[in-house]
Each structure stands twice: as structure tokens, then as C-alpha cells.
């Protein structure tokens, strides 16, 4: 009787051990299988983020003009293309930013000559002003109309958020500088305000470039 009990106990123990051993094997096999087969993309990455600028929404939103224009119903391929376009546009944005800053610096030097009474540089000042406006517009378009990023999960003040706040400042400065430039011919007393607006634009654009590194 005792021998029988020992046999039964041993059999139960053996079955238990084998089951637990199989559980271990199943666990590792399951993960290995997952490693091989789990190539499912996070669905939130395929869809553009819920929050985006209205300029981006016009082109890349759910009902955007350029939404899913490349690869038919292949949402992954479409989003990959979106992100490539975004990268190209942001590179152009960076180039445009540096060109604009250089133009502003040149304009500052020319403008100061004009303020000192050297009216020979007036045409040059206007032409450089036009070029700066053009490069500034080009830079802005490449940021405002780029496809949205894969994430919008920042909750703290980040360098990009500062960059965007400064963009509001230099955009306002650019608009003010241009409006005041057209009014100076009628009212010379506006000159200091035109210069101040230009300085604010330059300083905020330069700061917007610097904050990106932090």
C-alpha cells in the first residue's frame, strides 16, 4: 500500500515537473515566435497625430488634399512617404532659416548705412528686403505645410515648443517690419519702429535657431 502511494505520488510529481518544464519551453518559444513574427506596426504610427497645425491638416489630415495620394490603400507605405516628405521639407526649412538669418544680418548692415544717410544703398536695401521676405516665406512654408510628425506627446516645454513660440514672435516682427517699410515714405518718424521690428525679427529668428540644439 505504501509502495503504491509512493508510486502515485511520484507519477503526479513527474507529470507536474514535465508540465512546468513544458510551460517554460512554451514561454520562451512563444517569445521567440513573437520575435520572429511580431512585425505588426503600432497603429498609432500609421495615422497622423490628432493634434496638428491647421496648415498641416489641410494637406495631411484625415481628409487632407494630399492624404494617401501615393500608394493606394497601403497605409504603411503612405505614412512612410509622408515622413520622407516631412524630412525633406524640414531640411529645406533648416537651409532656409540659415539663408534668411544671413540675409537679415546683411540687411541690418545695409539698413544702418541708410540710417546714417547713405541713400545710395536704398535700392540695395529694398532688394535685399525682398530676398529676405522670399527666403523667410519659403522657410515658413516648409515648416507649416510639412506632414505631421509620428508623435505629439510632449507635455513639458521642449526646444521645439520654444522654437514655435519664437516663430510667432519673428513672424509678427516680419509683418510689422514690412508694413512699417511701406509707411516710412509717408511718415519718416516711423523709421525707429521699422528698425526695432527688424531687430526683434532677427533676434527671435537667431534664438529660434539656437534653441534647437538644446
Amino acid at each position: 500500500m505504501r509502495k503504491k502511494l509512493i508510486k502515485v505520488y511520484s507519477m503526479i510529481y513527474l507529470v507536474g515537473i514535465f508540465m512546468s518544464a513544458n510551460a517554460v519551453k512554451a514561454q520562451t518559444d512563444s517569445l521567440l515566435l513573437q520575435l520572429i513574427n511580431s512585425n505588426k506596426v503600432d497603429s498609432s504610427l500609421i495615422q497622423p497625430p490628432a493634434k496638428m497645425l491647421f496648415t498641416q491638416r489641410i494637406l495631411w489630415g484625415t481628409n487632407g488634399i494630399l492624404k494617401n495620394r501615393y500608394s493606394g490603400n497601403d497605409l504603411v507605405a503612405n505614412r512612410q512617404k509622408d515622413l520622407k516628405i516631412r524630412r525633406t521639407m524640414l531640411k529645406l526649412h533648416q537651409i532656409g532659416g540659415f539663408v534668411t538669418l544671413g540675409g537679415m544680418l546683411a540687411q541690418g548692415i545695409i539698413g544702418s548705412q541708410l540710417y546714417k544717410g547713405d541713400y545710395k544703398v536704398k535700392d540695395l536695401h529694398e532688394n535685399v528686403g525682398m530676398a529676405v521676405n522670399f527666403s523667410y516665406g519659403f522657410t515658413a512654408i516648409n515648416a507649416l505645410f510639412s506632414p505631421p510628425s509620428a508623435f505629439q506627446r510632449d507635455k513639458k516645454i521642449t526646444s521645439i515648443r520654444l522654437h514655435k513660440w519664437l516663430a510667432v514672435l519673428h513672424l509678427s516682427g516680419m509683418i510689422a517690419t514690412n508694413i512699417l517699410a511701406t509707411q516710412i515714405e509717408h511718415d519718416v518718424s516711423l523709421k525707429p519702429y521699422h528698425r526695432a521690428a527688424a531687430y526683434v525679427s532677427f533676434a527671435s529668428l537667431a534664438t529660434a535657431l539656437i534653441v534647437i540644439k538644446f
Partner: protein
């Protein structure tokens, strides 16, 4: 009776059930650029482990590229682009051998990153605290050796070497 007893002991030694479960885990990458250095951390790490008593016998780890958060969405989005995470969403590691050498452990295995699989080896430190086992370690990854185009900021590329740190905590069942 004796041969059953011996058999039971032998089987207990060779087929031990998992004795530890993963509780918390994190993987952090550190990248360097001429202008700054930054970290990105994932706390959504899938781990499966096989144990022999207190000794880790095998481990497999999976982390999604999208789960890494560097505190800057645009940077994380850039990583999604350079790592082609829409078509290759996972980073995986599966150990092939684990050698204990006191509190230090030498782990060898296969790292699959950006769809490229390479054999790697690294040291792991083991700490035992309050029924928990903590494993920490780090190893470098050369981005270009995994066919990753280095991300750039202001036309300057990041360093080719990226450091990976990990911390895995297992709790006694």
C-alpha cells in the same frame, strides 16, 4: 523507492519551473551630437526568461522602436524615420549563452536591430535585493553596421556609436 527518489531529484534539477518573474524593465539609448547628448527610454519591454534556480539560463527581450521616449516628439519621430520603424517595428535580443562569473555575467546572443541581426556579447551586473534580482548592463551599437543612416541636426550627423543601457528586475515567485 530509492530509485524513484533519485529520479525525482534529478528531474527537479534539470526541469525547474521559472522561479522569477519580470517586474520592471527599461532600456535606454544614448546618442551624441556635436551640439548635445540625449537619452531615449523604453519602459515597455517584453521579456521571457528561463531559470535554473537563481540562475538565469535564457532570456529573450523585445522592445518596440515607438516605445522609446526621449522627451521630444519630433526627435522620436525622426528615430521612427531613420529606423524604418513602420516596416521594422521591433528591436529584439535573444541570448545564446549565459556564463556566471561571481556577480558578473557574460551574456552572448543575437541582437536584431533595424532588421539586421548580429552576434553581440556584453557584461551584466547582478544584484540581489529583497527577493528581487536586478540585472544591469550596457553595450555599444554602431548605427552604420546595422545599416542605419545616422540622423542629422543642422546638417551635422550624430555619432555612429550609440550606447544601450538596460535594467531588468525580476521578483521571486
Amino acid at each position: 523507492m530509492l530509485h524513484y527518489f533519485i529520479l525525482n531529484i534529478l528531474l527537479s534539477v534539470f526541469f525547474q519551473a521559472p522561479t522569477y518573474d519580470i517586474t520592471t524593465s527599461s532600456i535606454t539609448y544614448t546618442m551624441k551630437h556635436k551640439l548635445h547628448t540625449w537619452d531615449g527610454t523604453s519602459k515597455q519591454v517584453n521579456v521571457a526568461s528561463k531559470w535554473n534556480g537563481d540562475k538565469l539560463e535564457q532570456i529573450s527581450v523585445l522592445a518596440k522602436v515607438s516605445s522609446f521616449n526621449s522627451g521630444l516628439s519630433s526627435r522620436d519621430s525622426h528615430m521612427i524615420e531613420v529606423l524604418d520603424a513602420l516596416s521594422i517595428p521591433n528591436i529584439t535580443f535573444s541570448s545564446s549563452s549565459i556564463h556566471y562569473n561571481g556577480a558578473s555575467i557574460i551574456v552572448s546572443g543575437k541582437l536584431q536591430f533595424h532588421g539586421v541581426t548580429k552576434d553581440i556579447q556584453f557584461n551584466v551586473r547582478e544584484k540581489k535585493e529583497n527577493n528581487q534580482l536586478l540585472y544591469e548592463g550596457e553595450f555599444p551599437v554602431l548605427l552604420e553596421s546595422f545599416n542605419v543612416e545616422r540622423p542629422s541636426l543642422l546638417f551635422v550627423k550624430t555619432d555612429n556609436s550609440m550606447n544601450i543601457k538596460f535594467a531588468l528586475v525580476f521578483k521571486n515567485k
